[in-house]
Symmetry: C2
Subunit: 217 residues, 2 copies
DNA sequence: TAATGTGAAGCCTTTCACAGCA
DNA sequence: TGCTGTGAAAGGCTTCACATTA
Protein backbone atom coordinates (compact mmCIF):
# COMPACT_ATOMS: atom_id res chain seq x y z
CA UNK A 1 0.00 0.00 0.00
CA UNK A 2 1.63 3.22 -1.15
CA UNK A 3 0.55 6.65 -0.09
CA UNK A 4 -2.75 7.80 -1.52
CA UNK A 5 -4.94 10.71 -0.77
CA UNK A 6 -8.07 8.99 0.48
CA UNK A 7 -11.18 10.06 -1.43
CA UNK A 8 -14.03 11.43 0.64
CA UNK A 9 -16.22 9.19 -1.46
CA UNK A 10 -14.47 6.15 -0.10
CA UNK A 11 -15.20 7.35 3.43
CA UNK A 12 -18.81 7.81 2.48
CA UNK A 13 -19.00 4.18 1.35
CA UNK A 14 -17.27 2.57 4.31
CA UNK A 15 -20.31 2.79 6.58
CA UNK A 16 -22.29 0.88 3.97
CA UNK A 17 -19.73 -1.89 3.86
CA UNK A 18 -19.70 -1.80 7.63
CA UNK A 19 -23.44 -2.22 7.94
CA UNK A 20 -23.53 -5.02 5.40
CA UNK A 21 -20.80 -6.85 7.26
CA UNK A 22 -22.60 -6.42 10.60
CA UNK A 23 -25.70 -8.00 9.08
CA UNK A 24 -23.70 -10.90 7.65
CA UNK A 25 -22.02 -11.40 10.97
CA UNK A 26 -25.36 -11.56 12.76
CA UNK A 27 -26.39 -14.22 10.28
CA UNK A 28 -23.42 -16.26 11.38
CA UNK A 29 -21.48 -15.87 8.16
CA UNK A 30 -17.72 -16.06 8.60
CA UNK A 31 -16.22 -14.73 5.39
CA UNK A 32 -17.10 -13.19 2.07
CA UNK A 33 -15.46 -12.24 -1.18
CA UNK A 34 -15.43 -8.69 -2.48
CA UNK A 35 -17.64 -9.81 -5.34
CA UNK A 36 -20.33 -11.27 -3.12
CA UNK A 37 -20.29 -8.27 -0.82
CA UNK A 38 -20.49 -5.99 -3.82
CA UNK A 39 -23.46 -7.84 -5.27
CA UNK A 40 -25.18 -7.74 -1.91
CA UNK A 41 -24.75 -4.02 -1.44
CA UNK A 42 -24.93 -2.77 -4.98
CA UNK A 43 -21.33 -1.68 -5.41
CA UNK A 44 -18.70 -3.00 -7.79
CA UNK A 45 -16.18 -5.46 -6.43
CA UNK A 46 -13.17 -3.48 -7.50
CA UNK A 47 -14.59 -0.41 -5.80
CA UNK A 48 -14.75 -2.25 -2.50
CA UNK A 49 -11.24 -3.62 -2.85
CA UNK A 50 -9.84 -0.24 -3.85
CA UNK A 51 -11.53 1.53 -0.96
CA UNK A 52 -10.18 -0.97 1.52
CA UNK A 53 -6.74 -0.87 -0.05
CA UNK A 54 -6.36 2.77 0.99
CA UNK A 55 -6.12 1.54 4.54
CA UNK A 56 -4.33 -1.76 4.25
CA UNK A 57 -4.62 -5.35 3.11
CA UNK A 58 -7.37 -7.08 4.98
CA UNK A 59 -8.24 -9.99 2.74
CA UNK A 60 -6.83 -13.34 1.76
CA UNK A 61 -6.31 -14.06 -1.93
CA UNK A 62 -8.41 -17.00 -2.99
CA UNK A 63 -10.55 -16.84 0.14
CA UNK A 64 -11.91 -13.35 0.56
CA UNK A 65 -12.36 -11.40 3.78
CA UNK A 66 -12.83 -12.61 7.30
CA UNK A 67 -15.98 -10.77 8.30
CA UNK A 68 -15.20 -10.21 11.98
CA UNK A 69 -11.72 -9.01 11.19
CA UNK A 70 -12.93 -6.60 8.54
CA UNK A 71 -15.58 -5.23 10.88
CA UNK A 72 -12.88 -4.50 13.43
CA UNK A 73 -10.74 -2.80 10.81
CA UNK A 74 -13.50 -0.58 9.50
CA UNK A 75 -14.52 0.29 13.03
CA UNK A 76 -10.97 1.39 13.66
CA UNK A 77 -10.73 3.35 10.41
CA UNK A 78 -13.95 5.21 11.11
CA UNK A 79 -12.82 5.74 14.71
CA UNK A 80 -15.86 3.97 16.01
CA UNK A 81 -13.97 1.62 18.28
CA UNK A 82 -14.86 3.90 21.17
CA UNK A 83 -18.50 4.78 21.81
CA UNK A 84 -18.98 8.26 20.36
CA UNK A 85 -21.39 10.57 22.09
CA UNK A 86 -23.47 13.24 20.45
CA UNK A 87 -25.72 15.99 21.73
CA UNK A 88 -28.85 16.87 19.83
CA UNK A 89 -30.09 20.45 19.82
CA UNK A 90 -33.69 21.22 18.94
CA UNK A 91 -36.33 18.76 20.12
CA UNK A 92 -38.94 19.48 17.46
CA UNK A 93 -40.42 16.94 15.08
CA UNK A 94 -37.17 16.36 13.34
CA UNK A 95 -35.21 16.22 16.57
CA UNK A 96 -37.61 13.64 17.97
CA UNK A 97 -37.33 11.60 14.82
CA UNK A 98 -33.56 11.58 15.07
CA UNK A 99 -33.63 10.76 18.78
CA UNK A 100 -35.86 7.80 18.10
CA UNK A 101 -34.03 6.68 15.02
CA UNK A 102 -32.75 3.21 15.76
CA UNK A 103 -29.41 2.01 14.57
CA UNK A 104 -27.03 4.67 15.80
CA UNK A 105 -25.99 2.31 18.53
CA UNK A 106 -25.09 -0.50 16.18
CA UNK A 107 -22.44 1.79 14.73
CA UNK A 108 -21.07 2.71 18.14
CA UNK A 109 -22.87 6.01 18.36
CA UNK A 110 -24.89 7.29 21.25
CA UNK A 111 -27.07 10.36 21.38
CA UNK A 112 -26.32 11.14 24.98
CA UNK A 113 -28.07 14.47 25.50
CA UNK A 114 -30.82 16.62 24.05
CA UNK A 115 -31.24 20.37 24.38
CA UNK A 116 -33.96 22.88 23.68
CA UNK A 117 -34.69 26.45 24.68
CA UNK A 118 -38.43 25.92 25.07
CA UNK A 119 -39.27 25.71 28.81
CA UNK A 120 -42.24 23.49 27.92
CA UNK A 121 -39.88 20.87 26.52
CA UNK A 122 -37.13 21.06 29.11
CA UNK A 123 -37.35 18.19 31.54
CA UNK A 124 -39.28 15.99 29.19
CA UNK A 125 -37.97 12.45 28.90
CA UNK A 126 -37.40 10.78 25.55
CA UNK A 127 -36.23 7.24 25.98
CA UNK A 128 -33.25 7.40 28.31
CA UNK A 129 -32.53 11.06 28.05
CA UNK A 130 -34.00 14.19 29.54
CA UNK A 131 -34.28 17.40 27.55
CA UNK A 132 -32.01 20.07 29.01
CA UNK A 133 -31.76 23.81 28.72
CA UNK A 134 -29.31 25.06 26.12
CA UNK A 135 -27.48 27.01 28.79
CA UNK A 136 -25.89 23.74 29.87
CA UNK A 137 -23.81 23.49 26.74
CA UNK A 138 -20.62 24.34 28.48
CA UNK A 139 -20.45 21.01 30.21
CA UNK A 140 -20.42 18.99 26.97
CA UNK A 141 -16.70 18.32 27.01
CA UNK A 142 -16.73 17.10 30.59
CA UNK A 143 -19.51 14.73 29.70
CA UNK A 144 -17.46 13.24 26.91
CA UNK A 145 -19.68 14.57 24.15
CA UNK A 146 -17.75 15.37 21.02
CA UNK A 147 -20.46 15.66 18.39
CA UNK A 148 -23.48 17.84 17.83
CA UNK A 149 -26.67 17.33 15.85
CA UNK A 150 -28.53 20.48 14.88
CA UNK A 151 -32.29 20.16 14.38
CA UNK A 152 -33.39 23.69 15.19
CA UNK A 153 -35.33 26.02 12.89
CA UNK A 154 -33.40 28.11 10.39
CA UNK A 155 -33.42 31.25 12.46
CA UNK A 156 -31.58 29.63 15.35
CA UNK A 157 -29.13 27.61 13.28
CA UNK A 158 -26.12 29.91 13.19
CA UNK A 159 -26.42 30.65 16.86
CA UNK A 160 -26.63 26.96 17.70
CA UNK A 161 -23.67 26.22 15.49
CA UNK A 162 -21.58 28.88 17.21
CA UNK A 163 -22.58 27.60 20.62
CA UNK A 164 -21.71 24.00 19.77
CA UNK A 165 -18.41 25.00 18.21
CA UNK A 166 -17.71 27.13 21.25
CA UNK A 167 -18.42 24.18 23.51
CA UNK A 168 -15.63 22.37 21.73
CA UNK A 169 -17.38 19.67 19.73
CA UNK A 170 -15.31 18.16 16.93
CA UNK A 171 -18.05 17.51 14.41
CA UNK A 172 -21.58 18.61 13.63
CA UNK A 173 -24.37 17.01 11.65
CA UNK A 174 -26.71 19.80 10.66
CA UNK A 175 -30.21 19.46 9.31
CA UNK A 176 -30.43 23.19 8.91
CA UNK A 177 -29.54 24.70 5.58
CA UNK A 178 -29.34 28.20 7.00
CA UNK A 179 -26.09 28.32 8.83
CA UNK A 180 -23.47 29.90 6.64
CA UNK A 181 -20.16 30.50 8.32
CA UNK A 182 -18.33 27.59 9.80
CA UNK A 183 -15.25 27.10 11.83
CA UNK A 184 -12.09 25.61 10.41
CA UNK A 185 -11.76 23.34 13.38
CA UNK A 186 -15.16 21.70 13.22
CA UNK A 187 -16.16 19.26 10.51
CA UNK A 188 -19.73 19.91 9.43
CA UNK A 189 -21.96 17.62 7.42
CA UNK A 190 -25.18 19.26 6.27
CA UNK A 191 -28.35 17.58 5.16
CA UNK A 192 -31.17 19.54 3.60
CA UNK A 193 -34.21 17.41 3.00
CA UNK A 194 -35.86 19.97 0.74
CA UNK A 195 -32.80 20.31 -1.47
CA UNK A 196 -32.59 16.60 -2.01
CA UNK A 197 -36.23 16.36 -2.94
CA UNK A 198 -36.03 19.35 -5.21
CA UNK A 199 -33.54 17.87 -7.60
CA UNK A 200 -35.68 14.82 -8.30
CA UNK A 201 -37.81 16.40 -11.04
CA UNK A 202 -34.70 17.17 -13.06
CA UNK A 203 -34.06 13.48 -13.48
CA UNK A 204 -37.55 12.57 -14.55
CA UNK A 205 -38.20 11.95 -18.21
CA UNK A 206 -40.26 14.48 -20.07
CA UNK A 207 -43.96 13.88 -20.17
CA UNK A 208 -45.00 11.14 -22.53
CA UNK A 209 -48.15 12.93 -23.62
CA UNK A 210 -47.62 15.32 -26.47
CA UNK A 211 -46.55 18.54 -24.85
CA UNK A 212 -49.03 21.18 -25.86
CA UNK A 213 -47.36 24.14 -27.35
CA UNK A 214 -47.34 26.84 -24.75
CA UNK A 215 -46.85 24.36 -21.95
CA UNK A 216 -43.89 25.35 -19.88
CA UNK A 217 -41.00 22.98 -19.66
CA UNK B 1 -22.46 26.79 -25.30
CA UNK B 2 -21.24 23.56 -26.81
CA UNK B 3 -22.44 20.14 -25.86
CA UNK B 4 -21.36 19.01 -22.42
CA UNK B 5 -22.37 16.15 -20.27
CA UNK B 6 -23.85 17.93 -17.28
CA UNK B 7 -22.25 16.87 -14.01
CA UNK B 8 -24.59 15.56 -11.34
CA UNK B 9 -22.66 17.76 -8.99
CA UNK B 10 -23.81 20.82 -10.87
CA UNK B 11 -27.40 19.70 -10.44
CA UNK B 12 -26.78 19.25 -6.75
CA UNK B 13 -25.62 22.85 -6.49
CA UNK B 14 -28.37 24.50 -8.50
CA UNK B 15 -30.92 24.36 -5.65
CA UNK B 16 -28.46 26.23 -3.47
CA UNK B 17 -28.07 28.99 -6.04
CA UNK B 18 -31.82 28.96 -6.40
CA UNK B 19 -32.45 29.42 -2.71
CA UNK B 20 -29.88 32.18 -2.41
CA UNK B 21 -31.45 34.01 -5.33
CA UNK B 22 -34.93 33.66 -3.82
CA UNK B 23 -33.68 35.25 -0.62
CA UNK B 24 -31.99 38.08 -2.49
CA UNK B 25 -35.14 38.64 -4.49
CA UNK B 26 -37.22 38.88 -1.31
CA UNK B 27 -34.79 41.49 -0.09
CA UNK B 28 -35.56 43.51 -3.17
CA UNK B 29 -32.19 43.06 -4.80
CA UNK B 30 -32.29 43.22 -8.61
CA UNK B 31 -28.99 41.81 -9.80
CA UNK B 32 -25.79 40.22 -8.61
CA UNK B 33 -22.41 39.19 -9.95
CA UNK B 34 -21.20 35.62 -9.82
CA UNK B 35 -18.52 36.70 -7.39
CA UNK B 36 -20.95 38.23 -4.91
CA UNK B 37 -23.30 35.28 -5.13
CA UNK B 38 -20.38 32.95 -4.63
CA UNK B 39 -19.17 34.81 -1.56
CA UNK B 40 -22.67 34.78 -0.16
CA UNK B 41 -23.18 31.06 -0.59
CA UNK B 42 -19.69 29.77 -0.08
CA UNK B 43 -18.96 28.62 -3.61
CA UNK B 44 -16.32 29.85 -6.03
CA UNK B 45 -17.38 32.33 -8.68
CA UNK B 46 -16.08 30.28 -11.58
CA UNK B 47 -17.97 27.26 -10.28
CA UNK B 48 -21.22 29.16 -10.44
CA UNK B 49 -20.55 30.50 -13.94
CA UNK B 50 -19.49 27.10 -15.19
CA UNK B 51 -22.56 25.39 -13.76
CA UNK B 52 -24.86 27.92 -15.36
CA UNK B 53 -23.00 27.75 -18.64
CA UNK B 54 -24.07 24.14 -19.08
CA UNK B 55 -27.57 25.43 -19.64
CA UNK B 56 -27.06 28.69 -21.43
CA UNK B 57 -25.87 32.27 -21.07
CA UNK B 58 -27.94 34.06 -18.51
CA UNK B 59 -25.73 36.94 -17.48
CA UNK B 60 -24.58 40.26 -18.82
CA UNK B 61 -20.83 40.90 -19.02
CA UNK B 62 -19.92 43.85 -16.84
CA UNK B 63 -23.22 43.77 -14.99
CA UNK B 64 -23.80 40.29 -13.64
CA UNK B 65 -27.09 38.41 -13.47
CA UNK B 66 -30.64 39.70 -13.32
CA UNK B 67 -31.95 37.91 -10.26
CA UNK B 68 -35.55 37.42 -11.36
CA UNK B 69 -34.48 36.18 -14.74
CA UNK B 70 -31.99 33.73 -13.28
CA UNK B 71 -34.60 32.41 -10.83
CA UNK B 72 -36.91 31.71 -13.76
CA UNK B 73 -34.14 29.94 -15.65
CA UNK B 74 -33.13 27.70 -12.74
CA UNK B 75 -36.76 26.93 -12.04
CA UNK B 76 -37.07 25.81 -15.64
CA UNK B 77 -33.86 23.78 -15.57
CA UNK B 78 -34.90 21.95 -12.41
CA UNK B 79 -38.38 21.48 -13.87
CA UNK B 80 -39.94 23.29 -10.95
CA UNK B 81 -42.01 25.66 -13.04
CA UNK B 82 -45.00 23.43 -12.45
CA UNK B 83 -46.02 22.55 -8.88
CA UNK B 84 -44.68 19.07 -8.25
CA UNK B 85 -46.66 16.77 -6.03
CA UNK B 86 -45.26 14.09 -3.79
CA UNK B 87 -46.79 11.36 -1.67
CA UNK B 88 -45.23 10.49 1.66
CA UNK B 89 -45.37 6.91 2.91
CA UNK B 90 -44.87 6.17 6.59
CA UNK B 91 -46.30 8.63 9.08
CA UNK B 92 -43.95 7.92 11.97
CA UNK B 93 -41.72 10.45 13.66
CA UNK B 94 -39.65 11.01 10.61
CA UNK B 95 -42.65 11.15 8.33
CA UNK B 96 -44.28 13.74 10.53
CA UNK B 97 -41.10 15.78 10.58
CA UNK B 98 -40.94 15.76 6.81
CA UNK B 99 -44.64 16.60 6.48
CA UNK B 100 -44.18 19.58 8.73
CA UNK B 101 -40.89 20.65 7.23
CA UNK B 102 -41.45 24.13 5.84
CA UNK B 103 -39.83 25.26 2.65
CA UNK B 104 -40.86 22.61 0.19
CA UNK B 105 -43.40 25.01 -1.14
CA UNK B 106 -40.90 27.76 -1.81
CA UNK B 107 -39.27 25.42 -4.29
CA UNK B 108 -42.54 24.57 -5.96
CA UNK B 109 -43.03 21.28 -4.18
CA UNK B 110 -46.13 20.05 -2.48
CA UNK B 111 -46.54 16.99 -0.31
CA UNK B 112 -50.05 16.21 -1.43
CA UNK B 113 -50.77 12.91 0.28
CA UNK B 114 -49.63 10.76 3.18
CA UNK B 115 -50.01 7.02 3.58
CA UNK B 116 -49.62 4.52 6.38
CA UNK B 117 -50.70 0.95 7.02
CA UNK B 118 -51.47 1.50 10.70
CA UNK B 119 -55.27 1.75 11.14
CA UNK B 120 -54.70 3.97 14.17
CA UNK B 121 -53.04 6.56 11.96
CA UNK B 122 -55.33 6.38 8.96
CA UNK B 123 -57.77 9.24 8.90
CA UNK B 124 -55.61 11.46 11.07
CA UNK B 125 -55.18 14.98 9.75
CA UNK B 126 -51.79 16.63 9.53
CA UNK B 127 -52.06 20.16 8.30
CA UNK B 128 -54.07 20.01 5.12
CA UNK B 129 -53.76 16.34 4.43
CA UNK B 130 -55.41 13.22 5.76
CA UNK B 131 -53.48 10.00 6.26
CA UNK B 132 -54.71 7.34 3.86
CA UNK B 133 -54.41 3.59 3.66
CA UNK B 134 -51.57 2.33 1.51
CA UNK B 135 -54.05 0.37 -0.59
CA UNK B 136 -54.96 3.64 -2.30
CA UNK B 137 -51.62 3.88 -4.03
CA UNK B 138 -53.04 3.02 -7.38
CA UNK B 139 -54.71 6.38 -7.73
CA UNK B 140 -51.48 8.36 -7.45
CA UNK B 141 -51.15 9.01 -11.15
CA UNK B 142 -54.68 10.25 -11.50
CA UNK B 143 -54.08 12.65 -8.66
CA UNK B 144 -51.08 14.12 -10.42
CA UNK B 145 -48.57 12.77 -7.91
CA UNK B 146 -45.26 11.94 -9.52
CA UNK B 147 -42.92 11.64 -6.56
CA UNK B 148 -42.69 9.48 -3.49
CA UNK B 149 -41.05 10.00 -0.11
CA UNK B 150 -40.31 6.85 1.87
CA UNK B 151 -40.19 7.19 5.66
CA UNK B 152 -41.14 3.67 6.68
CA UNK B 153 -39.07 1.32 8.88
CA UNK B 154 -36.40 -0.77 7.21
CA UNK B 155 -38.46 -3.91 7.04
CA UNK B 156 -41.13 -2.28 4.90
CA UNK B 157 -38.81 -0.28 2.67
CA UNK B 158 -38.41 -2.61 -0.28
CA UNK B 159 -42.11 -3.35 -0.38
CA UNK B 160 -42.94 0.36 -0.29
CA UNK B 161 -40.43 1.07 -2.99
CA UNK B 162 -41.93 -1.58 -5.24
CA UNK B 163 -45.42 -0.29 -4.60
CA UNK B 164 -44.46 3.30 -5.41
CA UNK B 165 -42.58 2.29 -8.51
CA UNK B 166 -45.56 0.17 -9.53
CA UNK B 167 -47.86 3.13 -9.05
CA UNK B 168 -45.79 4.92 -11.67
CA UNK B 169 -43.97 7.62 -9.72
CA UNK B 170 -40.98 9.10 -11.50
CA UNK B 171 -38.72 9.72 -8.53
CA UNK B 172 -38.34 8.67 -4.93
CA UNK B 173 -36.64 10.27 -1.97
CA UNK B 174 -35.92 7.50 0.49
CA UNK B 175 -34.94 7.86 4.11
CA UNK B 176 -34.62 4.14 4.38
CA UNK B 177 -31.22 2.57 3.88
CA UNK B 178 -32.63 -0.91 3.55
CA UNK B 179 -34.07 -1.02 0.10
CA UNK B 180 -31.65 -2.67 -2.24
CA UNK B 181 -32.97 -3.28 -5.68
CA UNK B 182 -34.17 -0.36 -7.69
CA UNK B 183 -35.89 0.14 -10.94
CA UNK B 184 -34.19 1.58 -13.99
CA UNK B 185 -37.11 3.85 -14.64
CA UNK B 186 -37.29 5.52 -11.25
CA UNK B 187 -34.66 7.95 -10.00
CA UNK B 188 -33.98 7.32 -6.33
CA UNK B 189 -32.18 9.61 -3.91
CA UNK B 190 -31.40 8.01 -0.58
CA UNK B 191 -30.64 9.72 2.71
CA UNK B 192 -29.43 7.77 5.70
CA UNK B 193 -29.13 9.90 8.79
CA UNK B 194 -27.13 7.33 10.70
CA UNK B 195 -24.59 6.91 7.91
CA UNK B 196 -24.00 10.63 7.70
CA UNK B 197 -23.46 10.90 11.43
CA UNK B 198 -21.22 7.90 11.51
CA UNK B 199 -18.58 9.30 9.24
CA UNK B 200 -18.04 12.39 11.39
CA UNK B 201 -15.53 10.83 13.79
CA UNK B 202 -13.25 10.00 10.89
CA UNK B 203 -12.73 13.67 10.25
CA UNK B 204 -11.95 14.62 13.80
CA UNK B 205 -8.35 15.30 14.64
CA UNK B 206 -6.53 12.62 16.56
CA UNK B 207 -6.33 13.02 20.27
CA UNK B 208 -3.99 15.75 21.31
CA UNK B 209 -2.08 13.46 23.64
CA UNK B 210 1.05 12.06 22.05
CA UNK B 211 0.22 8.84 20.30
CA UNK B 212 2.03 6.04 22.05
CA UNK B 213 4.13 3.98 19.75
CA UNK B 214 2.19 0.86 18.99
CA UNK B 215 -1.05 2.78 19.01
CA UNK B 216 -2.74 2.33 15.68
CA UNK B 217 -2.98 5.37 13.49
C1' DT C 1 -7.87 -22.15 -8.92
C1' DA C 2 -10.00 -18.24 -6.83
C1' DA C 3 -9.72 -13.97 -5.17
C1' DT C 4 -6.91 -10.00 -3.49
C1' DG C 5 -4.31 -5.60 -4.09
C1' DT C 6 -2.81 -2.08 -7.16
C1' DG C 7 -0.58 0.59 -11.12
C1' DA C 8 -2.34 2.71 -14.92
C1' DA C 9 -6.00 4.24 -18.05
C1' DG C 10 -10.07 6.59 -18.52
C1' DC C 11 -13.51 9.51 -17.11
C1' DC C 12 -15.58 13.16 -14.67
C1' DT C 13 -15.24 17.51 -12.08
C1' DT C 14 -12.95 21.58 -10.64
C1' DT C 15 -9.99 25.24 -11.39
C1' DC C 16 -7.64 28.39 -14.17
C1' DA C 17 -6.82 31.96 -17.49
C1' DC C 18 -8.37 34.84 -20.68
C1' DA C 19 -11.03 36.26 -24.95
C1' DG C 20 -14.86 38.90 -25.66
C1' DC C 21 -18.73 41.68 -24.63
C1' DA C 22 -21.53 45.64 -22.37
C1' DT D 1 -13.26 48.67 -16.88
C1' DG D 2 -15.83 44.83 -14.95
C1' DC D 3 -17.74 40.70 -15.49
C1' DT D 4 -19.37 36.77 -18.23
C1' DG D 5 -18.68 32.45 -20.74
C1' DT D 6 -15.58 28.85 -21.97
C1' DG D 7 -11.50 26.11 -23.77
C1' DA D 8 -7.85 23.96 -21.69
C1' DA D 9 -5.15 22.32 -17.73
C1' DA D 10 -5.18 20.17 -13.46
C1' DG D 11 -6.96 17.28 -10.17
C1' DG D 12 -9.61 13.52 -8.25
C1' DC D 13 -12.27 9.31 -8.56
C1' DT D 14 -13.61 5.08 -10.85
C1' DT D 15 -12.73 1.33 -13.64
C1' DC D 16 -9.82 -1.90 -15.67
C1' DA D 17 -6.43 -5.48 -16.20
C1' DC D 18 -3.36 -8.31 -14.28
C1' DA D 19 0.56 -9.67 -11.27
C1' DT D 20 0.46 -11.85 -7.06
C1' DT D 21 -0.65 -14.68 -3.35
C1' DA D 22 -2.95 -18.51 -0.49
Amino acid sequence: MKYHKIPDEAIRRLPFYFRGLLTLSEQGRKNISSRDLADLLGFSHWQIRKDLSYFGSFGTPGRGYDIEKLIRQIRRILKLNVVRKAALVGVGNLGLAVLRYPGFRAYGFEIAAAFDNDPAKIGRKIGDITVEDVSRFRALKQRGIDFGIITVPCAAAQQTFDALAGAGVKGILSFSPCQKTGSEKVKVITIDIAMDLVRLPYYTPANRKRPKSGEQY
